[in-house]
Subunit: 301 residues, 2 copies
């Protein structure tokens, strides 16, 4: 239990759920970059900021088609590939991982100054892609994601030391209030929810479909949302949502006739590269957590 | 197959899905009542109208407590009661049926002039309660409802002749964009979606949990929502949503920390009382479809 005392973000160490204050800055630098002062202020206060139409309709249409092309190339009858997650029932493609590693459109997107530059600006350091994925939430049947902080998992299962990472979510289709947009608890990034329980081996194999460990206590989520409620990050295709690695987020299922497809690029500061997982188990595979820090092609010279 | 030719609303007769025009008025009378001209115009055009704060906070708090008291009195370990539907996974109470028959608060609510009077006004006739239920959608785990027209089921499985019925949904808790509010396709009440397939015996025993037959074809829902999208019926507790029996509606699951509990009172015109089910199977039980027409205690003298 010594680790619990030295690690401010110890979690799943067998104790009860607990709410503790964040021990890291939210914004790590004040250099120039694509986000203006009011956008940075909103990100600091709420833990996220929505930048509408960051990509042009032409760009986002190309990326949507490329994403659909890759999903269509998956054979649902073939043996499971680790980096492809299917919907539990319909076996439609739910997530494609590590798209930043393929040569082509997604690698270019990951290095795009509008995204990577904003990450560098907020994290005050060079950045690399810790994880990337396309999340497909098909019309009528897209499944929900339950509440979680990315950082809790990245810390416990991947070995990310500090809260110096963020996600950029690019909306490939319009995200409305009703087709399962990203839901957040504004301000929850200032609190760390230590999770109860312990982590089983190879937890990631089930957690990508349904989360059981590393799920914050419902009472903690309720408490953090009191008086604040829950907010959604909506916008037309081409909008990008930047959100802190410790922001509580979730999304409802999609019952509408309108698909909701998003790309997630998770940037980490190079100075915050992964070490041994804090949960003490072997690290998750590379497609979930990049262990070789390669600054992005277009990193500032 | 003769019935198919005589019944404008034949459905599940073994053919393909089909979209046909509504063969009945939406508003059946122009007598006085609680709804003003603009509310009736909206109901006519969109198939629903939201009346905020129709009940006072005191009234709705009392009804919420009564609903919670009744749900808490259900023993989840006891053998299934037909009129109680539990969540598939957690066995939390999802629906309590036929609450208008119990003496007390819900019977009074069903006869309340603000609700029953509006139903009489729109349907141009005395009314009775065809079906009533409390739908509980608990925080974090409330399940979704898939798209359907009430009338399709009421016609095929219960024997309701014409589209001369509506539902009044009373919001017992605030319904926000995010906790699984009623979603509708505005204007879809003007079209009838003939459903494909046939109905198995005792279909209601599974359909209350998960609908498989009498589900409109996704292509029909997509077509009706083109250019219109999907709208939500939200508001504070005490709000009432009146919606036509043939309006396509659904709701997403509730992943938020805020429960969404609503009462549904479905009013039918007495002249539209049930006959033999148009699907040719035995009628569903009384708790789902009232067969003894009793005009409400407070019906106009």
């Amino acid at each position: 239990m010594i680790a619990e005392h030295h690690d401010p973000y110890a979690s799943r160490v067998g104790g009860a759920s607990e709410l503790v204050g964040r021990a890291d800055p939210v914004i790590w630098g004040h250099g120039p970059g694509p986000l203006d002062r009011s956008q940075r202020a909103r990100y600091h206060r709420d833990g996220y900021v929505v930048v509408r139409n960051l990509l042009s309709p032409t760009e986002v249409t190309m990326l949507l088609h490329e994403a659909e092309r890759r999903a269509a190339a998956i054979d649902p009858a073939a043996p499971d590939r680790d980096d492809v997650v299917l919907e539990p029932r319909s076996r439609a493609v739910r997530s494609l991982f590590r798209v930043h590693r393929d040569q082509g459109a997604f690698a270019e997107l990951a290095a795009d100054e509008r995204l990577a530059g904003a990450a560098r600006q907020l994290l005050g350091d060079d950045v690399y892609v810790h994880q990337s994925r396309i999340n497909f939430k098909p019309a009528f049947e897209g499944a929900p994601f339950s509440w979680h902080s990315d950082f809790e998992t990245w810390h416990v299962e991947d070995g990310m030391p500090r809260m110096r990472a963020l996600s950029a979510s690019l909306l490939l289709t319009e995200n409305t209030e009703h087709n399962g947009p990203l839901l957040v608890v504004p301000g929850s990034h200032m609190w760390y929810v230590r999770c109860a329980g312990l982590t089983p081996q190879d937890h990631y194999k089930v957690s990508l479909r349904e989360q059981h460990f590393g799920s914050p206590d419902p009472a903690a989520i309720t408490r953090l949302s009191e008086g604040v409620g829950v907010a959604s990050a909506t916008g037309p295709a081409g909008t990008v949502v930047f959100f802190d690695c410790n922001l509580l987020h979730a999304s409802a299922g999609n019952v509408t006739p309108f698909p909701r497809h998003n790309i997630f690029l998770c940037y980490n500061a190079v100075s915050n590269r992964l070490v041994e997982p804090f949960g003490g188990l072997p690290p998750r595979p590379d497609f979930l957590a990049e262990r070789s820090v390669e600054t992005l092609p277009s990193a500032r010279a």
